[in-house]
Symmetry: C2
DNA sequence: CCCGAGAGTGGAAGCGCTCTCACTCCCCAC
DNA sequence: GTGGGGAGTGAGAGCGCTTCCACTCTCGGG
């Protein structure tokens, strides 16, 4: 592997000039720049990133942290879409993305050590839970970071983007109320995630405003099987429900299967609404009325928040909240 | 950030001893080792990876290269499973995985520069195509690598694992022949991938042996929509087919939808077999008879091949081929 | 009692790069 | 003519670490 020294020698300049020529080239004569470029070409020189980052203290790498089981990461279109957008957005700045999938426990310790070790310049965190305490940890490490989805603890210490889940859930529940449902249940997300608690809160707020009962609640886990199981419990304990707000389309798909098996027609016997609108909602039978989760926008904004920190601008945490958008189909 | 120097000073030893104590600890007295460990703990010392890899010439990082559009990467369970297994296997050796998704073109150039730049110790390549010429490129760079799936060019220069696609396709096609199909078509994979050409070759070989016509061929692209489109063409051009071998379950799922719409009963009017058995095959209607693609084994083996190179053992290319395994369901 | 082996240690070189600083030009305004 | 300033350059320090080498010290065997 050729070094900068050899490039400089071949180009007939000093190592300092060669370095300047390679990085941006300001304060370098056209002649010198050309000679260096030529030398780089003939030698096939590629800068050694370790040496470079040893002195610049930059790695040009960003971690995408997903404190979740790998099965879920790939089963849920949410992650795919997020990773896609994040990767694209960071690639424009020539930043590499390292995907860190780590559940709480040993793996998480390894991940934190990795983040603390200076392997990356910053982190994007997605699908975090209360007990991973990532916001606190990252704030303690002092690593620039942006969260997608509001952390349940330590939110005030970090940058994050969040959909207005409370408003979204309230509005979509109102669709059920307006169409005449009087006994409305919900399958929530995990209560250790803000998307879980907020959407449940929105559901409750809509029912409270309408003077309806809020006891038909089962916690789900954002998976299809979990939605199925939750729906079975719900039907058993509250057989009279005529409306159902499910906190994610994936869970709703599972719930629809259960309703179908139970012989309940949707939306006639029971109207169902979901949440997310990431492709699944239009493929269920019947297609789901749902709320759009603007993950593309959120991911892009999270990248922007991260870059703002990397560029040395802000260090005072900022947050960006996205308004919900209803998508009406035939399930309610 | 504390440095090794500070650790050494606090422990009352030299930097050299502190370094030895931290890495393995051979040739270090128990007393010194304990003092260093204590100092590391109180200082919260984490080694600087850039400095370390500058001298060791190791990065403890492995790239997983996927020359494919990001949509496909996440739509196809093949990648999820592969990435999962690779990540798990490498984590046991404390190796980080960097996911590089890059289609031919500019992105590919960036990726190659990244690989050449010494950011990673090795690479696992999956879903490569003829024109990306990755085997040639990686061999030229001299980077330790292992391919999952035989490269169509340069296969002799690299380590790879491969399922025996020809045998698998032949055997699954024989199921169609044995059940009495006489007009058997195929939807192939992309012909610029070995999985595409090999499975088509296996299909052809089975038909040749049985003395049947091999003209009902349409090329697909390993996506669900592509399978749908290919099946429509096939039905239009060869309305008399009574058997269909599809080169992937995902495409077969699309084909089944087309057959359903066309009013053809499966398997009575037309028997269908797929390939891969990664979860989709059991969820289609009817469930697919298919061939198991042992991607877990292949991925693990690829990691083993890579580690063999990293550990300085072999440099003479080796390959491991996996025998096919039929999975009988109701579609044929 | 001495010598050699081996364990443990520290000094110092050096990995490949960036960047500060001091220097030399050269040009232009006065 | 002279002085000031900007453009271009190179010497050299130093980023934090590993590792070679030389050294000391402790034993056990002859």
């Amino acid at each position: 592997m050729p070094t900068l020294d050899e490039v400089a020698r071949l180009a007939g300049v000093s190592r300092a000039t060669a370095s300047r020529a390679i990085n941006g080239g300001s304060r370098v004569s056209a002649k010198a720049a050309e000679a260096v470029a030529e030398a780089v070409r003939t030698l096939g020189y590629v800068p050694n990133p370790a040496a470079r980052s040893l002195v610049t203290r930059k790695t040009e790498t960003v971690a995408m942290v997903v404190p979740e089981s790998d099965e879920r990461v790939f089963a849920d279109p949410f992650f795919a879409r997020t990773l896609h957008v994040v990767t694209q957005a960071l690639a424009q700045r020539d930043l590499q993305v390292v995907l860190l999938i780590a559940q709480p426990g040993d793996e998480m310790q390894r991940t934190l050590r990795y983040l603390r070790g200076g392997h990356v310049d910053g982190a994007i965190v997605v699908s975090h839970h209360r007990n991973d305490a990532l916001a606190d940890h990252l704030a303690a490490i002092g690593l620039p970071a942006a969260f997608i989805g509001r952390p349940l603890t330590g939110a005030e210490k970090v940058f994050y983007t969040d959909p207005d889940n409370i408003a979204g859930a309230r509005e979509v529940t109102n669709i059920l109320i307006e169409r005449g449902c009087r006994r409305i249940g919900t399958i929530t997300g995990p209560v250790d995630m803000s998307a879980g608690t907020d959407r449940a809160a929105g559901w409750r707020s809509a029912l409270d405003a309408a003077g309806l009962a809020t006891d038909a609640v089962v916690e789900g886990d954002f998976t299809e099987d979990g939605g199925e199981a939750a729906c079975e419990i719900l039907l058993r304990d509250h057989p009279d429900i005529d409306g159902l707000m499910v906190a994610s389309d994936l869970m709703a798909a599972g719930a629809l299967r259960v309703l179908d098996r139970a012989g309940r027609r949707v939306p006639d016997d029971i109207a169902v609404v979901g949440y997310d609108d990431l492709g699944i909602a239009e493929r269920t039978t019947p297609p789901l009325t749902t709320v759009k989760n603007p993950i593309g926008d959120m991911a892009r904004e999270a990248v922007r928040l991260l870059l703002a920190q990397l560029d040395g601008g802000t260090t005072i945490p900022r947050r960006v909240v996205f308004a919900p958008e209803l998508v009406r189909r035939t399930s309610a």
